[in-house]
């Protein structure tokens, strides 16, 4: 398309308000976070430049375990989300009566206020009267009430399951769209050649889904790494720090204890990890050349 000077100016005028907004509310705070991370800023203290002190301070055994935990938490959450979501999409892609209703029914966890869905999980995990504990007791699988959020190991998995639950609808709908974008004639050709359903799934559906699986995993990875609400509402990082991820730790340090400098150093570290994920994401998507590069 021939681009006139006036057209370019017009395009920039259209973009400018949104661009300025994002610059002020996202880019400036980002720069400010980096600057803050080299200072000892706190609620009371005047700001002094402290160089890499904050970074040196956070690399201790506790924080190392927070990083490791964050990665384990994210890994399991994303993997389970992808598995359940793809399974759901496969089921909902079947041409059976009622499927449009079933598709609608997958949406609530994603569309209702996240916090409210989490309260419901909070009740389900409730140690004295919660559903999960109650059902396990009724089935005779456990002898007394189980307070899932009171023990590190169960709380860890409880927060993962809730995060999976929140993320599954998006994965499902995305994978469903990806499945429906596969040209139907591929299946028809295979069918005429006598290929069975399982064969068609393994040789047509699955290979063609790989780019979408990778894209969705990367997007999900970023969202999960950033996940705050679920852990904060269910456990606030406890018990005994067993569900403290990097985001939770940052929040506690910065907003909870007003140690802005130390919090900012943690936030910078998160940004570095996220940038690496994004880089990997752009590289894989450009390699597979999915629809994102329109």
């Amino acid at each position: 398309m021939g681009v006139h000077r006036s057209t370019v100016i017009f395009a920039w005028i259209l973009l400018l308000p949104a661009l300025l907004y994002v610059l002020v509310i996202v880019a400036y705070p980002l720069v400010d976070t980096v600057i803050l991370s080299f200072t000892d800023a706190s609620l009371k203290k005047l700001t002094n430049w402290v160089g890499f002190d904050n970074y040196r301070k956070i690399f201790n055994a506790t924080f190392a375990s927070v990083i490791v935990r964050t990665f384990i938490w994210t890994f399991f959450s994303v993997s389970i989300k992808m598995i359940i979501g793809t399974f759901g999409a496969t089921m909902l892609n079947s041409a059976v009566p009622g499927r449009s209703l079933f598709r609608v029914l997958t949406m609530p966890p994603w569309i209702v206020p996240m916090a409210i869905g989490i309260f419901m999980w909070g009740w389900m995990y409730n140690g004295q009267f919660g559903m999960i504990s109650g059902v396990l007791q009724n089935l005779g699988l456990v002898s007394g009430p189980v307070a899932f959020l009171a023990y590190g190991s169960t709380a860890f998995w409880a927060t993962i399951i809730t995060d999976v639950w929140i993320g599954v609808p998006l994965v499902t709908l995305y994978m469903l769209a990806a499945m429906q974008a596969i040209p139907q004639d591929l299946y028809e050709a295979a069918w005429t050649d006598g290929a069975g359903r399982a064969y068609r799934f393994r040789r047509i559906t699955l290979p063609l889904l790989v780019p979408s699986l990778i894209t969705m995993s990367m997007l999900s990875l970023i969202a999960t790494f950033n996940s705050f609400d679920i852990i904060w509402i269910l456990t606030r990082g406890g018990p005994d720090g067993e569900t403290t991820t990097m985001i939770i730790d940052t929040y506690r340090t910065a907003i909870g204890s007003y140690k802005y400098g130390e919090g900012a150093a943690r936030a910078v570290l998160i940004c570095i990890f996220l940038s690496l994920f994004c880089l990997a994401y752009f590289r894989t998507t450009s390699r597979f050349a999915t629809g994102d590069n329109r």
């Binding site: 089921m91 139907q184 907003i255």
Partner: protein
Amino acid sequence: MSHPAMINRYKWYELIGIYAGILLFLTFVLAPFVEGFLVSLKPLSLLFSSPYRFWPENGSFEAYRTMWISVPGFGRYIFNSFFISTIVTAVVLVLVVPAAYAFARFDFRGSGVLLGAFLAVNMFSGAVLLIPLFRLMRTMGVLNTYFAMIVPGVAFLIPSAIWLLRTYMMRIPKELDEAAFVDGASHFYTLRRVILPIAMPGITVVAITTFIGAYAQQFIYALTFNSKSEYMPLPVGLFAYFGRQEVVWNELMAASFVGIAPALVVIFFLQRYLVSGLTAGAVKQ
């Protein structure tokens, strides 16, 4: 000749397998809502009885009445949530409609990078930018106002709104605005009089998804930038209640259901547009 319909014909045991799979999947997705709803119907005595009972015998909607009193400020939280989401949606639309048009139509130098930069904003949700934003809001003296909860919310809803609307606008034939331009209409006139009316359904979808997004995600900023219950949106208001020792669970669940009702209504009426709108742009058609 193969008949497309025959491919998808299932044998009876396949059908059973599929329905079992769907049932299993939906059970996971819907269990908390079903349980939450049943809890909202149960009298407290039944809730705290052992052994656990799933079905609400003697169930009633009593909790939906009493929660207005025992969840203090509930009406105010609902109003705040709607108010914040409405303003956020309006601001997002004003910023995004022109930007999406620019990205959909003008392929100037740097437009690709800029689009990527907008999308990268999605990366920094949550606590990452909280510290400078908190300090900024404090310096400006707007902590504990609606303003502090609206401003960051807008920024993080811009990228997906641009993405969705751009995809929609790209489907509008280019000939339309080219013809108007040839006829002597200015770019601005073309956008306002030719594109906007045609793009209205797309803008509506973006408005709805933005509103739902604003309503659903107003937690961390509201939690951090506001401590006054008169400005609290519903999720934070209920969270304050949720954190107490003596939570009246059936009333909390009743309040939750009233709080999610708008989203459920939207899903019910607009699911067709939501599914297609939200997945468009995600995958090449």
